[in-house]
Symmetry: C2
Subunit: 407 residues, 2 copies
């Protein structure tokens, strides 16, 4: 008997999470031999628990699915809902009852660390319960911090945004060339500095900035920072510094906490951060007496559709397709990992990896990609990241503004 | 005897000020019958006074000029240098001596209000001195606040960035649909709200946001604002509010100044100053107890090359060409104004207007473009602005990153 497939999205938005959705849904709709209905759960498992489920087939018929492909953020809506550690918690009965109600055979979940935790727990539950529902994780995060995969969909487009933005901000910052100035650009990334590292990609074709790049992988020392900024300003008038929102001192105190009394904590225990750039702006102004501006790239770095990486988008779509095919072949408790094969130019193989190995871990930027002084990024990162930002994507537009699929 | 032409850039960067430069330089290089050398002054008249002048012809030969066309900010560098009111000030002797030294016959200056003041003063000086040097102003400002012209180059591309960014920010803000949230987007414009008004262009094709739009043309009342935000949140969960950085209360106090009294002092004793958006973020959080985020679009709105309006760029180029042709025909003391002719679809005529009428004035958003309650924008603005953001521009790229001309 044919079963139904359901797909959900979870965690923070990216520019290509809907590419993964497109890939999974179009593959599932194509697999009519094995799959009956294709459902989307709205706002992840939180919505699923409330029966907030839609039929995806009409979206293909009316052309919406094609627009979903290049729509940023999460078409189905997202959630931040952590399943209980206690495997006997009644929510698991509720969830499996809901899956039975919808005759679900295949459960696809697109997200980052926390979402893989969900896939891990649900597949473990299925094993305990003797359920044959197959659970697959599709990677997604601009943070690029998932283990068991070379990189994650969403990172390439965000990295491209960061690189382009840094080129533009630099050229903007240099117009009054004769006056000394510092521009501090704050980039997303709490614990892993991959996205901040991407700022080094801006340093090409005549652009010498950013002069300094600071990741959360290294302890940040305020006095050493000021010394380095001064040193750079002795050599040139206008410098740009890229910092991760998550930079912290040797005691683990976030630099943004220097300026804030208390910091909010979300339900996964993440501290809610902003303001490292603003803090350093004020510090440089006071201590070095030069013109300073801080720029927070903010949500645009994860949701800008005008700077999509074609490579990133096509990999996101393909990971969705492969996830469905893997489930149909019997796979469960897996995340689709990306294996880089670049003997003869860059390409990716999609390899199902054990989701239990992925969840609740963080892949940091390795030592060989960070300069010894901790204030710059090496060529090893450039070689790694450059293939991920390649190619432009033409968006569907009306009146010259991008068309987005809005539920 | 043939004379030389010199062109300079002044004031804040835009995405197409180099389009105007490209237009002026390529027309001048083409006009070999009348013009000998084509010079660029680096960092405006401030650099010119120091003899900081480059020959532009080699840039055409080596292909740089083509890349200049789509490079944001100001290729020649900019300045903020106001000429003295006293027409007998010795700086005028210096300037005219420099022009004689370089055998200048045509002086092109690209900029906003203050730059037109420079053109006005120099052309008045020329008249007093019996000099036949011809002075032309080329309009430029994302603020769109110049009089005697329908709009200004730079506004269309900035407006397109604002509209696209608001669409993206909205879709990002709505992913956790079930929780109430407010996103406050702060847009450039100290005294004129044209660019903030452009946020209304995002409200199309299924996107209902921004719910509220506030320009500096109207007094801002904090209590009325909170009441309206509450009212919107009763109808929907996620709202986006667009505000101009220059919103002020009925006493003329900027809203961003409100935060400077009660803002926290960090552990190093630095006072942390923030903008209008940050102030309203904290205010809404405290008073309405909902999730709030503020986003400052910051410099990207004026220097993003990835969202260039083709219409804006081609008009910038054409204004440069027309300025040179006008000067060659004997025009001086003029700015190239844009006259909108849209009986049969939108097009623009380029009309030299008296630069003395332009400088030191500000064109505000007229009453008919602002809703009666002062918290929204009317269709009259949409009709006005939509033609200005039309068309995309493919940038020259290498490794998928835009190539910029850097001096």
């Amino acid at each position: 008997m044919k079963k139904n497939l359901i797909v959900g999205q979870s965690g923070g938005p990216t520019a290509v999470i809907n590419g993964s959705l497109y890939g999974a849904v179009s593959e599932a709709l194509f697999s009519t031999d094995s799959i009956d209905k294709v459902y989307g759960m709205c706002n992840g498992i939180e919505g699923f628990l409330k029966g907030n489920v839609i039929d995806m087939a009409p979206l293909k018929e009316d052309g919406t699915l094609d627009i979903i492909k290049t729509t940023p953020a999460a078409y189905l809506g997202s959630c931040r809902y952590k399943l209980p550690e206690d495997s006997m918690d009644p929510v698991y009965d509720e969830l499996f009852a809901k899956m039975e109600e919808y005759n679900i055979g295949y459960f696809m979940y697109i997200g980052g660390n926390d979402s893989m935790d969900t896939v891990s727990k649900l597949s473990a539950q299925a094993a305990r319960r003797g359920s044959d529902i197959r659970f697959m994780g599709l990677p997604k995060t601009i943070d690029n911090d998932l283990v068991c995969t070379d990189h994650t969909p969403g990172f390439g487009s965000a990295a491209k945004f960061v690189a382009e933005a840094l080129r533009e901000i630099t050229i903007d910052a240099c117009v009054y060339g004769t006056k000394k100035s510092v521009t501090v650009v704050e980039i997303m990334g709490r614990h892993a500095g991959w996205l901040t590292a991407a700022s080094v990609l801006a340093r090409c074709e005549g652009n010498p900035e950013p002069s300094l790049i600071y990741l959360p992988e290294r302890d940040f020392d305020v006095e050493d920072f000021l010394t380095r900024v001064s040193g750079c300003l002795e050599k040139k008038n206008n410098i740009v510094v890229a910092i991760s929102e998550g930079i912290h001192d040797k005691n683990g105190t976030f630099i943004c906490e220097y300026s804030q009394g208390d910091v909010g904590i979300d339900q996964f225990g993440h501290k809610s951060l902003s303001g490292s750039g603003k803090f350093l702006e004020n510090l440089i102004k006071e201590r070095l007496g030069v013109k300073v501006r801080s720029v927070e790239l903010n949500v645009l770095q994860r949701c800008a559709s005008s700077m999509l990486s074609a490579s990133d988008l096509s990999e996101a779509i393909e990971s969705g397709r492969v996830a469905v095919r893997t489930a149909l072949k019997g796979g469960t408790g897996k995340m689709i990992g990306f294996k880089r094969c670049d003997n003869n130019g860059y390409y990716v193989e999609y390899v199902p990896v054990d989701v239990h190995e992925v969840c609740n871990k963080e892949k940091k930027v390795p030592d060989n990609m960070i300069s010894e002084d901790g204030a710059d990024i090496t060529e090893a990162f450039v070689d790694y990241a450059l293939p991920l930002i390649q190619g432009e994507v033409a968006l569907p537009r009306k009146n010259s503004l991008p068309l987005f699929a809005i539920r």
